[in-house]
Amino acid sequence: MYRISAIAIILLVVYAGLIQVGAFNYIEIAGIKPDLLLLIVVYISLACQGPETVKAAITAGIIKDVTSSAVFGSYVLSFLVLGLLLNYHQRRFYKEKILARIMFGFCSYIFIAIFIFGFDAIAQRGIGSFYPFFNVAIKGALYTGIVSPLVFFVASKILRIRLAHVI
């Protein structure tokens, strides 16, 4: 597994965050946009070691928490749990196929959605209904899954990592 400097990881995640907040508003389809930050966390969890995953998950989580109306800390925590889970079990889960990448993007999005909806419900923010979950989460997961091979490819070029060599 690769070791990458903390600065490189934070810079990559911050850059992805700025693209997420700025450019991704223009590629929305019916109000749904892919989650670039989540994909970056997933990629780093698969390619790097635990400390890198933690740094990426915390940075990406803070950016998501600050730029959304979710309960503060919910993205940090859910990204950390997802990242560490993927990091521990990367060999068992990952296959170097496009379909596997799409499935990773899709499932990770659903995993995060369950966490966010759960935390919001606990904090009594009034979501309380599964309508937005089915309406938004499935579409968002599909869109995120579809763009995940491209994001993984670009991330591997930037970080000069090949998942096939790692796993």
Partner: protein, 257 residues
Amino acid sequence: MNIKKSIPVLVIILYIALIYFSPPKYIDKPKFLFLRIAKLPLNLTHTFFRNINYLAHSKDMIQENKCLHDTVDALTLQLSQYKEMDQENTRLRKLLNFQKVSSSKLIAAGIIAKDSSNFSDTIVINQGSRHKITQDTVIVAEAGLVGRVYESSSSMSRVILITDPNSRVSAVCSRSRQIGVLFGTSSNLCELRYLPLVTDVLVGDEIVTSGFSDIYPKGILIGHVIKIIREQRGLSLTAIVAPAVDFTSLEEVLCIE
């Protein structure tokens, strides 16, 4: 038991306890601290991508500009007629001893950032409590209702849009005066629910705020009905409403003080 492995579980339990027992405003306080730090890069990124979008659509914009000039000419003429009518209205109100309708002050604000998540529809504007923008301040654009302020700091506020799944607005069909509750759906559409089964709401009807609320003033345009859903065994009708405001290209808003 492996202590190392149980740490994440403990952290989650502690976090759940924290968010369950403390009011949201205390949990969300650090958000504005981070937002204040990120204000400049967010603003720059937003402006950068907006300008790229402008460049990509420059041809359309020239044409739109021409159309808008024509519209401005027509509206200027209409405005002078309305001014005349307003004066007449004031005179008649005085004559009938009617209460004066409060005229609200509008404060312009720019958008710093849009929501990065699909589960909520919020924007961050560059006006806060220092500019008299407080919680529940109503936000509008030229085209119609945008939403209300959800939380504010001294120099920034987070606005919950009418398309957010947590947004509820009391709304009325301007033609038939049928009242319903407008729900956000997190897509670019809203749902006007709880309309009576025998209702006179048609596709294309204008939906405006009803005024039956402590937050939203009466008569602000929300959008137009694009579809009516009649559920089997349902006790009420639901109308799908397309907001009058295009939230994807929204850049500036007005806050009703």
